[in-house]
């Protein structure tokens, strides 16, 4: 009993999370700060008045559904990889990838919808520019997530992702869920501020 107490009290080896996973979390924190700055700027600027109101594109609802579905696909893939179910893993990630592309094009078409509604990136009220900046910067981050996903998908097709090599797919899943969550936050933020 007393011996095991000492083991608990004296873990001389410092904690060792996988450094790459840890670095990914730090990277996500820096992205959070970037969007925190943009959304704070949005609130501060809105508080000043002279703020044009307009309808948000309906397409945002669909792209939100798509991004949530893609996270489900990702999770199915990760769970399949843990159990070494290669076919399921492949289809899970492939569907995630396709949904990701669908999301990107959906966002693109929602910008078109905005333009039809006479909301332009430049030349107008900052409220109009802000929506392009928020969605556009998120769009770019999702491209980076898609590239990461593509690399992992390539590994999957070469059968390099399995229950004993989960590191990369887990990092990819973390990042993907994060980007999806970030969109849900941004959409909720925009909805809340468009009442």
């Amino acid at each position: 009993m007393s011996v095991s107490m000492k083991i608990v009290e004296k873990p001389e080896r410092p904690l060792a999370m996988n450094p790459k996973k840890f670095a990914l979390w730090l990277f996500m924190i820096s992205i959070v700060m970037m969007f925190a700055a943009l959304t704070s700027a949005y609130i501060v600027r809105k508080g000043d008045g002279n703020w044009r109101m307009f309808e948000l594109p309906v397409l945002f609802w669909y792209s939100t559904a798509v991004v949530i579905l893609s996270s489900v696909g990702m999770q199915i893939g990760v769970m399949a990889a843990r159990k070494d179910q290669m076919a399921k893993l492949k289809w899970g990630l492939l569907s995630t990838f396709i949904l990701g592309v669908l999301f990107l094009s959906g966002q693109f078409y929602s910008w078109k919808e905005l333009i039809v509604g006479n909301v332009y990136f430049t030349g107008g009220n900052p409220s109009e520019s802000f929506i392009y900046v928020l969605t556009g910067v998120h769009w770019l981050h999702l491209v980076s997530g898609l590239i990461f996903l593509g690399i992992v998908l390539f590994d999957v097709l070469k059968l390099k992702v399995h229950s004993r090599n989960m590191n990369r797919i887990e990092m990819c899943a973390t990042y993907w869920h994060f980007l999806g969550g970030l969109w849900v936050y941004l959409f909720a933020f925009l909805l809340y501020n468009h009442q």
Partner: protein, 638 residues
């Protein structure tokens, strides 16, 4: 020098897998992933920038100190920036001030300081082979390098570099019509800074990850040297604040190049109305200072960490209040995020909000005073060795006090109405942030030079460098307080048009002469630095009798730092002059079981743990996660 050792290692290693670590000239010296080489790259780039930034300040001090003199002789260097009647072009004066600020704050005191010492000391002092990701570390330097190249090239373009001061407030910086420096120069400034932010984030993520995940056995957070604590907190602040600057810069870029109106509203230039409607320039100030204020501590904290280490070592005494030092650094880090609006007291802010920010600002005096008193009580009764590094550290403490006191004035929203944008502010931050940090940087270079290059720097030249710099800095910045209280505004090209300020002509002259001497003293340092790399006295393994792990490495540590096993840590890093001990220092890797003569009863208890500890690591199956990692790594390499 260190890389010469690497070369030998490459001859004995014929393993294809290790090839990237022991490669040719390019991979060893240029695109190196070794944290020690990257640190030296940051240091030497930083020295280059410091010389440029310093020379710029000398040029604009010539204008301020000798407004009637002609500087025709600068024509070969500055060309058309010298006007026909032999004066510095007023627009170029603004460019000089802007570039001096940008270069010193970001390129010297952020990249040159954190980049050098976080890179160099984190793996060596926590007992790691290298950074968590050597590749990211290399990228961090090369992003900084490209950013430097862009910023440097902006000095040479026809319209001149950015001139809207280092804070780049719109609308001045947003409208190319506003001044010639807001054209291409500003574009290059923004491009350069975007890359700089990427570099800082890559570096910062690496530093934090390494400190948390890569510590050697026994290196708990309560045994970390204060340098590492400082670098860790600095990187954390940077990680949280630099993305905000990126956002601010992004919106500014959209305003400049895409026609949005985030910061612009209802502006007339030359009688012509601009189309921009509905923006707010104050918004930029909020975003900028949300980075800008933490940036002050990103600059200062590493210098304070270095000073803690140097003062304790050379007082031959444990640092006074180790935990209080950590606590105050954490306090400063947290507070640094909630005081940004004290830079904006005169922007028409609600006076109640002003008093809130005044209160929060003045609270910073508490952790700062804790640090100052801890430095002084560490020195008190110590067996002080006046090495050059020690002198510069004491100089830092001096500047930190005299510059910090004026912070109480400018941090007060009522007093700030008089002092805002005067030379008083310039004097304040040059002492407490600029000079103090610069002295910390120099203390670090003098102190760790033997480890970096295996040789000692010349002490005599170091003393001359110190005394000229120390006296010079005070001669420059003390008079500026008076000039500031008298109401001299910052960034003005000329005062001679105002009768009220004529009284201070001779004081300005004194400041300029002192600035030139101070700059000249830095050339002594540069000579000493490069001369000593090749011709300095050979250094012993532990020339200062220091406790931390970097002094257990060979004279030229290879890539991997320790030839055998990484040392295990058994004690805190400040066991100096311990009663009963054989020597006046006990290194961190000496177990308590080897020092029965100096152990306290509590430490004798720890001996049992030390003995069982080695067994524990194997028995408790701690190796398994490590193997898992190795496996992952090799598979990723494939």
């Amino acid at each position: 020098m260190a890389t010469a050792e690497l070369k030998i290692a490459s001859d004995t290693h014929h393993d294809e897998h290790d090839h990237e670590h022991h490669g040719n000239f390019w991979t060893n010296y240029v695109f190196s992933q070794d944290h020690k080489v990257i640190a030296k790259q940051f240091l030497i780039t930083g020295i280059f920038w410091a010389l440029i930034g310093g020379a710029m300040s000398v040029i604009f001090r010539l204008q301020l100190g000798f407004p009637n003199a002609t500087v025709e002789w600068l024509k070969p260097l500055l060309g058309d920036w010298i006007t026909a009647d032999g004066k510095i072009d007023p627009e170029f004066y603004l460019a000089l001030v802007t570039m001096h600020g940008t270069i010193m704050v970001f390129f010297v005191l952020t990249a040159g300081l954190s980049g050098t010492f976080s890179n160099y000391l984190i793996p060596l002092q926590i007992g790691a082979r290298d950074m968590a990701s050597g590749f990211m570390n290399m990228l961090s330097y090369w992003f900084f390098f490209v950013s430097s190249v862009i910023m440097f090239s902006s000095i040479f373009i026809e319209t001149g570099p950015a001139s809207g001061s280092w804070v780049i407030y719109p609308p001045l910086s947003a409208l190319p019509q506003a001044m010639s420096g807001s054209g291409l120069g500003m574009t290059l400034w923004l491009a350069s800074m975007a890359l700089f932010i990427v570099s800082t984030l890559l570096g910062g993520i690496n530093y934090i990850t390494t400190v948390i995940n890569m510590r050697t056995n026994g290196m708990s957070f309560s045994r970390l040297p204060l340098t590492i604590w400082a670098f860790f907190l600095t990187a954390t602040i940077g990680l949280l604040s630099f993305p905000v600057l990126l956002s601010a810069a992004l919106l500014l870029i959209f305003d400049r190049h895409f026609g949005t109106s985030f910061y612009l509203s209802e502006i007339y230039i030359n009688g012509e109305a601009l189309p921009n409607q509905g923006g707010s320039p104050i918004l930029f100030q909020h975003l900028f200072w949300f980075l800008g204020h933490p940036e002050v501590y990103i600059v200062l904290l590493p210098a304070l960490g270095i000073t803690s280490e140097v003062i304790s070592t050379n007082s031959r005494k444990p640092i006074f209040g180790y935990k209080a030092m950590i606590g105050s650094m954490i306090g400063i880090s947290v507070l640094s995020f909630v005081v940004w609006a004290h830079h904006m007291f005169v922007t028409g802010m609600n006076p109640f909000l002003g008093s809130v920010f005044t209160l929060l600002t003045l609270v910073i005096a508490i952790p700062s005073a804790v640090k100052v008193f801890n430095y002084m009580t560490t020195l008190w009764g110590g067996n002080i060795k006046f090495t050059t590094g020690m002198l510069f550290s004491i100089g830092l403490v001096s500047f930190f006090i005299s510059g910090g006191l004026t912070g109480l004035f400018v941090g007060n929203s009522a007093v700030d109405i008089q002092l805002h944008d005067t030379y008083f502010v310039v004097a304040h931050f040059h002492l407490v942030m600029g000079s103090a940090t610069f002295f910390g940087l120099l203390a670090g270079v003098y102190h760790w030079f033997p480890k970096m290059f295996g040789r000692m720097m010349n002490e005599k030249l170091g003393y001359i460098h110190f005394w000229l710099s120390f006296a010079g800095v005070y001669l420059v910045f003390f008079p500026l307080h008076y000039i500031g209280i008298a109401g001299f505004p910052r960034r003005y090209y000329s005062f001679t048009n105002f009768n009220a300020f004529n009284d201070f002509t001779d004081l300005n002259m004194l400041v300029s002469i002192a600035a030139i001497i101070t700059f000249g003293a830095q050339l002594i340092f540069v000579f000493n630095f490069f001369y000593s790399i090749f011709r300095g006295r050979l250094a012993s393994l532990n020339p200062w009798g220091s406790n931390t792990l970097e002094w257990t490495t060979p004279r030229f540590p290879g890539h991997g730092n320790w030839p055998g096993e990484i040392p295990t840590v058994y004690r805190w890093p400040y066991d100096y002059s311990k009663p009963g001990a054989k020597e006046d220092f006990i290194m961190q890797n000496v177990p308590y079981s080897e020092t029965p003569e100096s152990n306290t009863p509590e430490e004798n208890e720890l001996i049992k743990l030390e003995l069982s500890n080695d067994d524990l690591i194997i028995q408790a199956g701690e190796e398994t996660p490590k193997k898992q990692n190795d496996q992952d790594n090799t598979q990723e390499h494939n």
